[in-house]
C-alpha cells in the first residue's frame, strides 16, 4: 500500500520561494493564497545571527484535525495519505482552518475572476486565451481525482469554499511529482512513498535525523524535516509576505 510523504532537506533549502511560485502557477491559486509557504527565520543578535528557511506545505496529517472537525466530510483523508478537500461538498464554515495548527488552509473570499492580479478581461488577451481565467489555467484541476472521483480543492476555485495544498494530486496520479518538488533548484524537497522501504524518501529518512512540526499536537504529519531545528520561541520571521486580499 502506498503512503505519500514529503521530506524537506533544510540543509539545502535556499528560501528562494520557487516552490511557492510553482504552486501558484500549477494550481492557479488566487492572490494572497500560498498553499506552499516558505518562512524566512532569524535568531540571535548581530554578529551571532543565524538565519534559516522553512517550507510549509500542508502536512497531510495522519491524524488530521481538519478532517475530524469537518461537519460534512468535505475534508477527507485518502488511503494513500493525501488530505484533500471536496470543494463541491464544502459549505465554507472554515472550521478546518481553525482546527489546523499549521495555518495551511486558504478560503476563497471572493470570485476567482476577481482574484488574479491583472485584468484578464482585456480583449486582446481574451482573443489569445479563449477567456481562461487565469490565462495559465490548468485543465487538470477541473477533473475529479482518485478512486473516490471527487473534485479535490484546486479546480474552479469556488467562491466561498476552503482549499489547501493537495500534494498536486492531479500530478501525483499521473506519476509526476508535486510542482514544488519538481521546481526546487537545490532539490531540497523530496516526495515519495514511505510505506515502500526501498523508495528514495524512505531511504533518505532512514539515513538522516528528522523532525516533524508541532508533533506535540498529535497530528502525525506526513511532512518530515531533515536538518535544522523546529522554530522556537526566539525565532523571528523576516521578509514576511504581506497579503493585500
Amino acid at each position: 500500500m502506498t503512503k505519500y510523504a514529503m521530506v524537506v532537506d533544510l540543509n539545502r533549502c535556499q528560501g528562494c520561494r520557487a516552490c511557492m511560485e510553482a504552486c501558484k502557477v500549477e494550481n492557479n491559486t488566487a492572490e494572497g493564497v500560498f498553499w506552499m509557504h516558505v518562512f524566512r527565520f532569524e535568531t540571535g543578535e548581530f554578529p551571532d545571527t543565524r538565519q534559516s528557511y522553512l517550507p510549509r506545505p500542508c502536512m497531510h496529517c495522519d491524524n488530521a484535525p481538519c478532517v475530524k472537525v469537518c461537519p460534512v466530510g468535505a475534508r477527507y483523508k485518502r488511503e494513500d495519505g493525501l488530505v484533500l478537500t471536496d470543494f463541491e461538498r464544502c459549505i465554507g464554515c472554515r472550521y478546518c482552518e481553525l482546527a489546523c495548527p499549521y495555518g495551511v488552509n486558504y478560503f476563497n473570499w471572493r470570485k476567482p475572476a476577481d482574484s488574479y492580479f491583472l485584468d484578464w478581461g482585456d480583449t486582446d488577451i481574451q482573443a489569445a486565451t479563449g477567456g481562461a481565467i487565469p490565462p495559465y489555467r490548468n485543465p487538470d484541476l477541473d477533473e475529479p481525482q482518485g478512486a473516490e472521483r471527487r473534485m479535490t480543492a484546486g479546480g474552479g476555485h469556488h467562491k466561498g469554499v476552503m482549499e489547501k495544498c493537495t500534494f498536486c494530486v492531479h500530478r501525483v496520479e499521473k506519476g509526476m511529482l508535486p510542482a514544488c518538488v519538481t521546481t526546487c533548484p537545490v532539490a531540497a524537497l523530496r516526495f515519495g512513498d514511505v510505506e515502500d522501504a526501498a523508495s528514495p524518501v524512505s531511504k533518505f529518512l532512514r539515513e538522516h535525523e528528522h523532525f516533524r512540526l508541532l508533533e506535540e499536537t498529535g497530528t502525525e504529519p506526513s511532512v518530515f524535516y531533515v536538518g535544522g531545528n523546529p522554530p522556537g520561541s526566539e525565532t523571528r520571521q523576516i521578509e514576511t509576505i504581506e497579503v493585500g486580499v
Binding site: D62, V67, G73, Y76, K77, R78, E79, D86, E148
Partner: protein, 70 residues
Amino acid sequence: MRRWWTWGMVIAGGALMTISYFFLAAPWGEDTVANSDPRLEFAPLLFVIGVIVAFSAAVVYELMPDRTDE
C-alpha cells in the same frame, strides 16, 4: 390507545435518533477514508426527524381526542 401512541412515538423517535446517529451517519473509528461519507445519505435528516417524532409524542398525548370515558 393514547399511551400506545405516545410511547410508540417516543420509542420510535429515540430509535431513529440512535440508529441514524450511530449507524447511518458517517462511521466512527479508524477507517479514515470511509468516514467522510455517511453510510446513508441524509442520515442527519433522519436524526432530526427522530427528534421531531419523539417530541411530537407529547402533542399526540395531549391532543388525541378521547374515545370513551375513562
